[in-house]
């Protein structure tokens, strides 16, 4: 699971109002290189919740993203490279995603998050 996926997920248990972002407990993290596509990065940038993304990157051991960002940074090659790496190359292979409100744990196994709920949670 890449951090792009993490940025899209929230806890949807019935009654939960503050299910985003999910905290990450990482067991195995892998890096898989992919070609950088600056257009994709520029396109996705305004849609990301930056703070959630940056905090998540910390949980996976990536510490070089700035706290404050603005679209001008997308012109900077060095920033793009870091952004690309954290968003698309770092994978959470094994671990758990945790709801900030209820503590409900969603497993990530073989790189796939499982967001299924039990009957009493929907």
């Amino acid at each position: 699971m890449r951090l792009l996926t993490h940025n899209m997920l929230s806890c949807n248990i019935k009654g939960v109002t503050n299910g985003f972002p999910l905290a990450i407990e990482a067991t195995t993290v892998e890096t898989k290189e992919v070609d950088m596509n600056p257009d994709f990065l520029r396109h996705i940038f305004p849609k990301l919740e930056w703070k959630a993304f940056r905090d998540a990157s910390h949980s996976l051991g990536v510490d070089d993203l700035p706290e404050q960002v603005d679209p001008d940074m997308l012109l900077d090659e060095e920033f793009l490279r870091r952004f690309h790496h954290a968003l698309l190359e770092v994978h959470l292979e094994e671990g758990v995603l945790i709801c900030p409100e209820t503590g409900r744990r969603f497993p990530v196994s073989k790189g796939i998050p499982n967001m299924l709920l039990n009957e009493d949670e929907v």
Binding site: R2, S10, H43, I112, L116
Partner: protein
């Protein structure tokens, strides 16, 4: 001529990727200077994962026929619910990925973990990047997908069955649709409005038993126009691919039950489906 060649390669087992080509079909589209090739191979098999079949092919044919419109739409986010083997989402990515639209984000969900893993292998074998999640429809994604999905595709479990067969573990959940085959379809229809962007398009596979006309009526009440873009009869079922999009004025739309496939496209569908039918009998 813009050639789009779809090859289905049948893998012998989950580990052999190089394998026998059983079908090569050339589809001809509106004149364009470029030649594109989309090859979708079935790279993994799992007894609990739905293998691409007539319904999957009908859906991909509908997407192929709409290629120009989908490109023009400039989608940011495409989502497949119930991705199974990954055949459809991979095809969609290849259909869109060969144009300048490199910014598109692809997302796929399935309730079956085995299906999601198979989808990952299919995507990887075709160098397609997509986010994949084990989810019930879009569970866990609904908050961040609020009205941002530009292309949504769903080939649901549509076979009429007793209700208790719906959503159980195993391959049955790939086809078991409960009363009139509508249990999962109706749950999906109720969330379309919260998912689709203002320019969004939703493609849905349905069979006659699901009452496609009534599905279109239901969607019309929610403010969506509709059209049957593919209609196809196989030995076992009568398949429809329905297409939905938002209209400001619910009355300002074409009749939902009129198939509006152009003669050229429908003959194209027929040839393609005949060849695919042969593929299926080959297996």
């Amino acid at each position: 001529m813009d050639n789009l060649i779809v090859c289905l390669i049948e893998a012998k087992d989950t580990t052999t990727v190089h394998s026998k080509i059983v079908l090569t079909s050339a589809l001809f589209f509106a004149p364009s200077p470029r030649t594109r090739i989309a090859e979708v191979r079935l790279v993994g098999r799992h007894p609990e994962v739905y293998e691409p079949c007539d319904d999957s092919f009908a859906l991909v044919d509908a997407l192929l026929a709409d290629k120009a419109q989908l490109e023009e739409l400039k989608p940011s986010l495409c989502l497949e619910v119930g991705c199974g083997s990954g055949y459809v989402i991979t095809s969609l990515a290849l259909i869109l990925g060969n144009c300048s639209n490199s910014e598109v984000q692809f997302l796929a969900t399935d309730v079956s973990e085995a299906a999601v893993h198979t989808t990952c292998s299919t995507l990887a074998a075709h160098h397609v990047n997509a986010e994949v999640v084990v989810a019930d429809l879009v569970s866990g994604l609904e908050k961040r997908l609020d009205k941002v999905v530009d292309v949504l595709v769903f080939n649901p479990p549509y076979v009429p069955t007793p209700e208790h067969e719906v959503g159980v573990e195993g391959i049955a959940s790939a086809w078991a649709g409960g009363d009139r085959g509508r249990m999962v379809i109706d749950r999906m229809l109720s969330i379309i409005d919260s998912l689709l962007s203002s320019k969004g398009i939703f493609y849905l596979v349905a069979v006659t038993e699901n009452n496609p006309g009534e599905i279109c009526q239901v969607m019309r009440c929610k403010g969506f126009a509709s059209r049957i873009v593919v209609q196809r009869h196989t030995d076992e079922e009568s398949l429809h691919v329905l297409k939905f999009w938002r209209v400001d004025d619910p009355l300002d739309q074409e009749g939902p039950t009129t198939p509006s496939v152009s003669p050229r496209t429908s003959s194209l569908h027929r040839t393609f489906s005949q060849r695919l039918a042969r593929l299926v009998s080959f297996k």
